[in-house]
Structures are given as C-alpha cells and as structure tokens.
C-alpha cells in the first residue's frame, strides 16, 4: 500500500466529503480506492502526465488569444473520478426532471397568457425588469412547446450531503464535451476500472440530442437539415462545438454561412443555397439577429428571428430563456413547481434574498460576511462577492452598487460545498466540487445521461469552481 497517497487526507467535519465519512471510505469509493491504493507515486504521476498528454495531443484545448497567436490551454483535469451512487442519482434525476418541466411551462406561460403573474405568484415587475426577458417572444409558438431543449443544472451539496440547485442554465450551457472527453481519458488511465465498478455510460448523449433535434422538424420534412451555429474558432467553447457537430454528423456553421430570404434560412454551400430546418445555436440571444437585437453583431444572421417566428426554422434553445434562469427569478422556482405541477420540489433551492426588497437588504447588509452576493445576470463566477473572503473595501463597494441598482443583486447564505479527493502533489487532497448534469428535453420527454460535469475548485480552500477562476474538472461516475 502506498502510504503517501491517503496520508493526512484532512477531513473537515464541517464539510461533506464525497469519499470519506469521518474516517471511513464511503461504499461508492471502496472499489476504486482498493484499485489505486497500491500504486506507487511514480505510477500515479505517470497517469497524471498521460492524462495531460492525451488532452494536448487530441486537441481538447481552448485557445487564449493574446499577442496575435493563440496559446493552447487544457481545461485542468483531475484524474480521480467523482463517484455517485445509484440511489443518489435517482434522486438527482427525478429532481431535475421535475424542475425542468416546471421551468418549461413557466416559459410558455410567461410568453403567452402569464397566469403565474395574474395569480400573484411572481411579481410582474420582476419579470419585466429582467434584461433577458424578450418582448419579441410574446405569443411566439415554439415547436412542441419546448423551450429548454438542452439544460445544464448546477448542483451543490451542503455539509449534510443534501443536494441543492445552485443555478439553472437554460440558455447555452456548455461543458458536455468535457463530460464525454473526461470519460474517454479515464478508461485509458485506469484500464478495466469502469466495467469493474459498473459505471453507467454517457456516450449516448450526442445520439439523444440529434434525435431530439431531428424530431423538431419532422412535421415538415423527413430529411431535415440540422446545423450547429457557433460563434467561430475564437470562442472558448469552440472545441465543444466541433466535437458535438462531429459526433452528431451535422454541419458546423457560423453566422457568415447563413442567409435569410423570404423568411427561410439557408446556408451557403459550394452548390448554392441550401435550406436548413433546425439550428442548434451556441450563440446568445442578443447576437442572433442584428435586425432585432444587437445591430453590431456578425455572429447571427439578419432575418433569422422572423423566420423563427414564422415557424420556418426551429431554434434550440428557444430565444428568451434567460428570463427563467435569472438569479432573482430563481428564488421563485419552488413556487413554480407547486403552482404548475402541484408537487413538492424534490431538489432544494439555496435560500435566496432579492435585494430589491428593503427588509432583505437590511438583513443582508448586517451580516455580509455570511453571504454570497451575486449579480442576477452574470455567470462564469464573475460579478460575485463571497462575504467571508472579501475585504472591507470590497464589501463597501458592493453595498454602494447594490443601493444603486438593487434589482440586479441577490444574496445567498454561503454554502459549504462538498469536497472530493484530487490528486495533487503526489497525494490525495480534498477540493470543493459541484455537479452539472445535462438534461435533454425532447418531444418524447426528458432524458438525462447518467453523469455530468463535475467541476472542482483546484485552489485550496476556494469555493469557486468556474474554469475562468482556477477551476478544473473530473470524470463523473454514476454507478449502476
């Protein structure tokens, strides 16, 4: 047994650890730990190096453009998988399905009759003041009434091991290619371990997505043309766009490849124009159509909105979804679930205080160091303040910003994210993790591939898992 590997794995009782239960190894990890505990430090380091080399040689990188030429970076990967038991997964799966169902009905409602406002469940002011609420989507019918075809729901675990939803990403969630690639790397660095642990497969994801995309156009043609619209090679998620397009065998297009004529969208090919039926877009709403949204955008195509409105092209995800994953609207999701589905929420929400409400603002200002303050329409770990790690000046600056525009801020109590073992400097060390499973909502229902992206805050003590802030990822095993 390699004494070093597990030595001094500091288990903090205030944090839920995915692998350790006080001093015992949890059942999900027993097999895995048994397989690696005899490996020498050299063997483990070798695996760590191999993983890095594989990412580099397969071009699983994102490019940071500075001083003219791109610098290849790999999204940091930790070789120790995050393991989820079958019953835990069942709970997550049913919770996400319930939540997504409610959010989808909410979008349909908000952009049509707005019963939820009329019945006083959600204040209308909150909806209309949301920058991502699109007036242009009012009374637009979308195919099969589905808005949230692809969703990435961020989950975290508190000190008791309870799962909470932290964010619903309903616009253009990314990371799914890393879920697939991380698995591809794991079976090379840990041969045989996947089948021996009965880990469920994730590779169906592209097939499921393609099936859903094709079905959206089925009413019109039996051979629909589906494309993936990417902002182009300079986008940090470009690797994901190419790998999804390749795995689904669909055309990867950019804004400059599209033309709209008489409310029909075409791509420019070597054989002239070709009509397209479904666009899986990875371009944000505001860049999609310069005639309707931002006029300086070249990432979309002029007239695409009117083609969509006429039903000549299906766009995935629907436009205007931002109103449902707004961080202030988030606070109302449990209400939505009760209102639309008449069910109790399976997954909990993190308690959220809208700072627009004066009593909450007063309460939060009194205990800023126990709170996380977030801007309602920012993501990627930007525009946020973690109370217990901030300086007095930072806190004061936030207070001023909040007073100036309270609608744009929410506060949440600091949740002690769970930790999982990471291989760092020759031994296992706990680091904080979250989990983003990917849900696909198609005409036949919701599918969630068993797994997802586990993001990890690689800096010691950090709670921020975003890749832009020193985060990495892990392979995520769901046991069968």
């Amino acid at each position: 047994m390699n004494e070093n590997l597990l030595k001094g794995y500091a288990n903090n009782n205030l944090i839920w650890d995915e692998m350790f239960d006080s001093s015992q190894i949890r059942s999900a990890y027993k097999n895995f730990v048994a397989a690696i505990e005899d490996l020498s430090t050299e063997q483990m380091n070798h695996k760590d190096d191999l993983a890095k080399k594989l990412f580099m040689s397969q071009g699983i990188t994102f490019t940071v453009y500075s001083s003219g030429e791109g610098i290849e970076k790999i999204f940091p990967f930790d070789i120790i998988p995050r393991i989820i038991k079958a019953d835990e997964w069942k709970h997550i799966e049913s919770g996400i399905k319930q939540r997504l169902k409610a959010l989808n009905i909410f979008l349909k409602d908000i952009y049509h009759q707005q019963f939820i406002i009329k019945d006083g469940i959600i204040p209308g002011k909150l909806i209309y003041s949301c920058p991502n609420f699109l007036r242009e989507m009012m009374n637009v019918d979308v195919p099969f009434d589905i808005y949230t075809h692809v969703a990435g729901i961020d989950l975290i675990r508190d000190d008791l091991g309870e799962f909470y939803v932290l964010e619903d990403n309903l616009r253009t969630p990314s990371g799914v290619s890393y879920m697939l690639e991380n698995r591809g790397i794991t079976y090379r660095i840990f041969p045989d371990l996947l089948p021996r642990n009965n880990v469920r497969r994730v590779k169906e994801y592209p097939d499921l997505l393609l099936k859903n995309l094709m079905m959206l156009a089925n009413a019109k043609t039996s051979y629909p043309t589906v494309v993936l619209l990417s902002p182009g090679i300079y986008n940090s998620a470009y690797f994901e766009h190419t790998s999804l397009a390749r795995l689904m065998g669909i055309e990867l297009v950019e804004g400059s490849d599209l033309v709209v004529d008489n409310h029909i969208v075409y791509i420019k090919t070597t054989k002239g124009l070709k009509q397209i039926d479904v666009i899986y877009r990875r371009v944000d709403d505001e860049f999609l159509d310069p005639l309707v949204f931002r006029s300086d955008s070249i990432l979309g195509a002029s007239g695409i909105y009117s083609a969509y409105r006429k039903g000549n092209v299906a766009i995935v995800n629907a436009m205007g979804n931002g109103v449902a994953d707004d961080k202030a609207v988030y606070a109302y999701v449990p209400e939505m679930i009760k209102y639309y589905l008449n069910e109790e929420p399976i997954l909990k929400n993190v308690p959220t205080y809208q700072l627009e409400i004066p009593e909450y603002r007063k309460m939060v200002f009194e205990k800023m160091n126990e709170m996380v303050i977030k801007r309602t329409n920012e993501s990627g770990g930007y525009g946020m303040l973690i109370g217990n790690a901030a300086t007095e000046e930072q806190i004061e600056a936030f207070k001023i910003a909040i007073e100036a525009d309270p609608r744009n801020f929410i506060a949440q109590p600091i949740i002690n994210l769970s930790s999982a073992p990471c291989y760092i400097n020759g031994r296992l060390q706990p680091r904080r993790v979250d989990l983003r499973p990917f849900a696909l909502y198609g005409p036949n229902g919701i599918d969630i591939v068993p797994g997802g992206l586990t993001r990890v805050a690689l800096r010691e003590g950090s709670l921020v898992v975003n890749s832009s802030q020193g985060g990495g990822s892990k392979d995520t095993w769901v046991l069968g």
Binding site: M56, S57, Q58, G59, G68, E69, G70, E72, G232, I233, Y238, T242, S243, A245, R246, I250, E251, L252, V253, E254, S256, D257, I267, K268, T269, T270, K271, G272
Partner: protein
Amino acid sequence: MLSRVANSICWIARYMERTNGMLRLLRTNYISSQDEVADFSWHSVLRLYSDLPLKQTEQINNHSPKVLEHLILDTNNTASVCNNIYRSRENARAAQDHITKEVWQCLNDYHHLIRDQQIHNQIRYGDPLTAFDTLIQHGMLYYGTVDSTMARGEGFNYLNIGKFLERAILSADMLNINLTELNNNPRPSTDAVEWRYLLYALSGYELYLKTYQGKFETKNVVEQVLYDGNFPHSVLYCLQQLTRNFERLKEESLPDSYAEMEFLIGKTTNHVKYSNIENAGEKSQQIFLQEIRSELFHIATAFNQFYFGNT
C-alpha cells in the same frame, strides 16, 4: 459542403504543401551551404520567404542558424514554416467536422512538434538536418493520413485541389528562381550543382538520373520539372491531377460555376501541355513561367469566386 468550409479545407492542403516544399528547399540549401561554405548566401531564399527589410537580410545572409531560425521558427515572419503549420491547423479547426479525427490530430501534433524545444535546439545549436528530417517525416505522415482515412468525397477533392495547385506554383517558382540565378551570374561550372539541388528539393533527383543518365543540362531539368507525367512535382502532372479532382466535383457544383472553372483549368493545362519551352532561351523560359504562374493564381481566385463565395 459549406463554401467557407471548402475554402478552409483547400487552405489546409495549400499550407501543408507549402510547408513541405519550404522544408525541402531549406534542407537542400542547408546541405549546399555546408558544401561550399566560402561563398554561400541565403539571399534568394530569404527574398522569397522573409518579409525582413533588405538591410536586415544582409546581416544574417551568411549565418545559416540565424537564417533557419528566422525562416522556420520566427512567428513574426509571416511566411515562416511554423506560421504555415499554425495556419493550416487554424483552418483545420474551422473545418474539423469535415476532415477525419486522424487528420486533425496529425495537424495538431505537427503544431505541437514545431513548438518542441528539442527541435528548436537542434535548429539553433545542433544538427538542423535532424530537425528537418523529423519535420519532413511528420509532413509525410500527414499525406499518408489524408490518403488512408479521408472519404473520397468533396473534402478529399478540395484537399487535393489545394495540394496540386500549390505544388504547381511551388515547382514553377523554384524553377524560375534557379533560371534567374543562372541568368544573373552565369557560372557554367557550378551549373550542375544548382540543378542537382533543385531536383533534390523536388524529390526528383533519382528520377532524373534514370531518365537522363546523369547528364545535367538546363533543357532536361526544365523538361522534367514542367512536362514529365511520371514526376509528381512536375507542373503538368499537378495540373492533370487538379483537373481530375476538379471533375469529381461536378455533381456537387452549380453548372455555371463548373463550366467557368473547367474552362480555366483546361486552358492552363493545355498551355503547358502544348508548349515546348525546354528548347527556348532562358529569357523566354522565364516569361513562360511567369505566365503559368499568373494563370495558376487566376485559377485560385476563380475558386474563391465560384466555389468559396468570396466575391
């Protein structure tokens, strides 16, 4: 296929062909610099592949490691080998869903290879030939990977069109440079040496020996580099392959665009085929090569217009 993607694929092949041609040319030049250290100058190569002002090229003219570093590794030199590989890879990135994963990985590896410190050290302080051989070999790996993994569809055809178009331009250019050099300073005694190096660079030396029984004459070299149907770097061979790959696009083309391109390619091919410039004087040979060159550029522009949607 998307016009933009077709364009990118064509440029993957052009940049790779350029890389290969350039590496071979530099390799033979480097060898010749070791043969006749006394008066060897990189002047003509630098003029072709560097955008440094004349004054600066004169400073490094006679210093092989500096020249090689500038032409191969310098990212500030637009025409450097490493920039060609970088651009080929950038184009591959934009067309990833139309080339095979193997081809993409091969280009990606090439990109990392030329940034490898070992290669840099060999070029700067060690034996540049080892670096050349490693790099050229990786280029060969690319050709093989394309050949054995790519489906014989549009993508493959555009790769070949890019490859042969670029190769025809390279061969015509290299021949022209040698003729110009000879014109500028006639040195009958070293004549053969320079032709030998040209043939090495085009991997046509062995074929030449077999065909012409070792007699080095301008006429024969011009004949092989322009007309030899069995020599994969001859201008005529490239044009014939270009025609062949273009004809395969017929099904995937707009009839008007096809007709325009067919006319241009056919005209240039016949211009080369039905000429016998090997017997003409060096001056008219040079003029002929200039004509062919501009016709080849015209073909590239026409592809842009009729197939790649760049009007």
